[in-house]
């Protein structure tokens, strides 16, 4: 399994939840805390992100940056 991660800009997120629906791994959830603008924001709730980019593609606020384990590193792990 490729490992990935996302960085979600907390104060840009408006908590629309579209990324949560789009994530095939169910890695994302809404925080119980609120951000600067009063929104509950999306955050990683599981450590199973694959860096598939789906969340970033549907994010209306371009709040998500996606990183992925390099292919070379993956080979090494195997």
């Amino acid at each position: 399994m490729i490992k990935g991660t996302v960085i979600i800009e907390r104060d840009i997120c408006k908590g629309c939840e579209l990324c949560i629906v789009a994530c095939p791994q169910e890695s994302l959830g809404l925080s119980n805390n609120i951000n600067l603008h009063g929104y509950r924001y999306a955050e990683l709730i599981k450590d199973n992100c694959t860096g598939c980019v789906n969340c970033a593609i549907v994010c209306p606020d371009v709040a998500i940056t996606v990183y992925r384990q390099p292919k070379a590193a993956l080979k090494k792990a195997i």
Partner: protein, 256 residues
Amino acid sequence: MQETIQINGYELVYKKPSTLTEKPFHYCPGCGHSVVHRVLMEVIEEMGIQERTIGVAPVGCSVFAYDYMDIDMQEAAHGRATAVATGIKRIHPDKFVFSYQGDGDLAAIGTAETIHAVNRGENILMIFINNAIYGMTGGQMAPTTLLEQVTSTTPYGRKHEAMGYPLKITDLLANLPGAYFVTRQAVHSVNAVRKLKKAIEKSFEYQKLNRGTSFIEVVSNCPSGWKMTPVESNKWLEENMFPMYPLGDIKLPKEK
């Protein structure tokens, strides 16, 4: 690039395109507008045409599109974006020109300008956001509002006897010889966004080849105007909008 490419040994696979400005979008949570803005600017970044692209912003929620798109832009009066785009393109035939309008703008007040720009085969990309509502002014009936749909000016639902039928302007435009590429896309899912991006790429390629008008309808949502959560709005869109406005290419170039 001053960007940190790596984090914990992971490499960057997606970030905001450099053709978008720093300014956070003012749109409501879950709005499709900013997805279209971003995809459009991704294409402009990837094709390397930022220096050669001029956009025309509409009246409506996306009136401030030029706050986000880091390109030269002009703001047009309600309905007149394609006339303004025509003026720009005629002065700069070698530049990429696009207009961006909503349903009220393009299919009600600007119907004449829309039809005639396409009929002249203006070599521009027209992007048409159809969310079946006037979002900016508070959710009034649009020409594309569905029958029985409740809006702030159809509180008992749209009745065709008094208010006519949903206007499928994209199908109408596809009949005009000036229209080179006509397609209907969406942004409600990962796949839809990817397809939209392809369509925008193709449109700019056609523009480069001087082929005529490319017209992309984007069936989009308006969670605030529809009074739904963003997730509900996308579901409603699939169930109600798509039967009237089915996705897919409506007119494809005949040549290879």
